[in-house]
Amino acid sequence: MYRYDKYDQAMVDTRVEEFRDQARRRIEGKLTDDQFKPLRLKNGLYLQLHAYMLRVAIPYGTLDSRQMRMLAEIARKYDRGYGHFTTRQNIQYNWIKLEEAADILADLASVEMHAIQTSGESIRNVSADQYAGAAADEIMDPRPWGEMMRQMTNFMPEFSYLPRKFKIAVIASDTDRAALRWHDGAVKIVKNAAGEIGFEVYAGGGMGRTPVISYKIRDFLPTDQLFSYFQAILRVWNRHARRDNIHKQRMKILVLELGEEEFRRQVEEEFEHFLTLAEDFPQAEYDRIAAYFAPPPFETGLSEEIDRSDPDFALWVDRQTVAHKAPGYAIVNISLKPVGGIPGDISAEQMDLVADLAERYSFDELRATHAQNLVLPHVRKADLYTVWQALDEAGLGAANLDLATDIIACPGLDYCSLANARSIPVAEKLSERLAPREAELGELKIKISGCINACGHHHAGHIGILGVDKKGSENYQLLLGGSGAEDASQAKITGPGFDEAGVIDAIEKATDVYLRERADGERFLDTYRRIGMEPFKEAIYA
């Protein structure tokens, strides 16, 4: 994985000391809250319901055991013994003290991590396929491009005061595991007819108040023009965005207002200008960064056999492991969704264990997923049983990847100052209700948000739940038919909302309809798309 050079380290260290001074001045009353707020947000520090919250960037979801151990240490030393993996491959801590925040950033910097641009009107942490560098179906490892995007967008003056946040994703396979089409800007690495590597470029997606699935703005962009093209996209948005209306500042709104063709025309025009400046990365710079992502020294001649005599282990293997590009290896998904548990939460002790397993069994590599789980990307099949035993003993052995209990949920009103309703209790109760039948239900992606900002990706859920405030009480809208995968679609609201118990009952009824109506091989989403909303509404509102 990428290692900081002296310039990276100096920039991050300088930023820590800059923030230390800013926090000191705020505590001493030399900065007002209005003056300090944008400064702390640029360093990932929010003020939430119970305390300050720090969101730490995990670039393209990749980290190593040293970094994971530091995340555990921060949880123990500065927080309350746990962290929360988010829906954008980051981790956040809920009980941070302002007077200690700079010390935390310094500890993070010591392991080449930071919280820069995890908030505010900036280009956020670049996300990627969590199986990058391991997936059997990828054209190439997309992470070097993720790192180049990170380098070109962190601290870029022109993009430091954007109209709103801007989220980027990068993948390199036809299977979309990164919710590509729901990002403001995204690239999919492809090969053209001549066998050349390039990018399909997507623009104008996003969730929130106005959910939009992005459109393909470019069929094929040569890799050596990536910087210029994204600069062009950002400059067109930066120039024309509706800065007068907070609800219309995201780039998706500009694309909707201009129309796809006109937005593309303006981007291409700007792009031609940027090409004349010759500011793109030279090949040598790509080669330098790509060298950090060289494949680990996989052993050869390994057996593909797995002893499946333990039925619980066999179930876990079937559910949690994925085909690896190297023979004899598997990608291991670690569920952070125990039945009835809090999605994405992990204790410091569990973090330490996962770090140990990564170091011993996965070439020191770990990944965070946007679905709030973790990944050991390179595990020998011969080691799977040992890894499973350790995970299971630590409460991390759930076998539910992409099943009904693998629920995405934002922190909701239990933690978030923006939320209108609690998300986590709904996730917990729904998980308990559906667990007995989740194997029968098969792939079913349930996503819960506690407000319209949609951090829980409810628009992209096969089943989505949106918490709203109804005259001071929590109310939940139910949505069906969304997808964050390569078949991206936007979920639709079923009708009137429910209280907490009601929405859980309604979802159970929806799954009854699916089990009754499904054709061979159909997932819940497939059946919904075939038969439409009406049969579900009839059952839910009967």
Binding site: E28, G29, H50, E99, L413
Partner: protein, 99 residues
């Protein structure tokens, strides 16, 4: 009644105005009537509170104070999904107060 809340500037903890100082216990909150802006201006200038605001609440029969909105009750109690991290971890019924 109208009460005042905010977050402690240094620690971020939720605090409630007691008439003379700030407390982490909502039951210590007092009715500030129409003095909210005046008090908050002084406390903000003294760097004792961050993001302060006034809210409606009601005095409970047992002497407690119950904020009118669920968001403020969550702030007063703690995360309902982690009773061990709330101010009343030993009371299994305390979470019902929030809802």
């Amino acid at each position: 009644m109208r009460i005042l809340t905010g977050n402690d500037l240094k620690t971020g903890l939720v605090i409630w105005w007691t008439g003379r100082d700030w407390s982490i216990h909502v039951e210590d909150a007092v009715d500030v009537g129409d003095q909210a802006d005046t008090i908050l201006a002084v406390e903000d200038a003294a760097c004792r509170v961050n993001g302060g605001y006034a809210l409606d609440a009601e005095r409970e029969p047992g002497g407690g104070v119950r904020p009118a909105h669920i968001k403020d009750r969550v702030r007063a109690y703690g995360p309902t999904v982690r009773p061990d991290l709330t101010l009343k971890p030993a009371d299994p019924e305390a979470g019902n107060w929030v809802i």
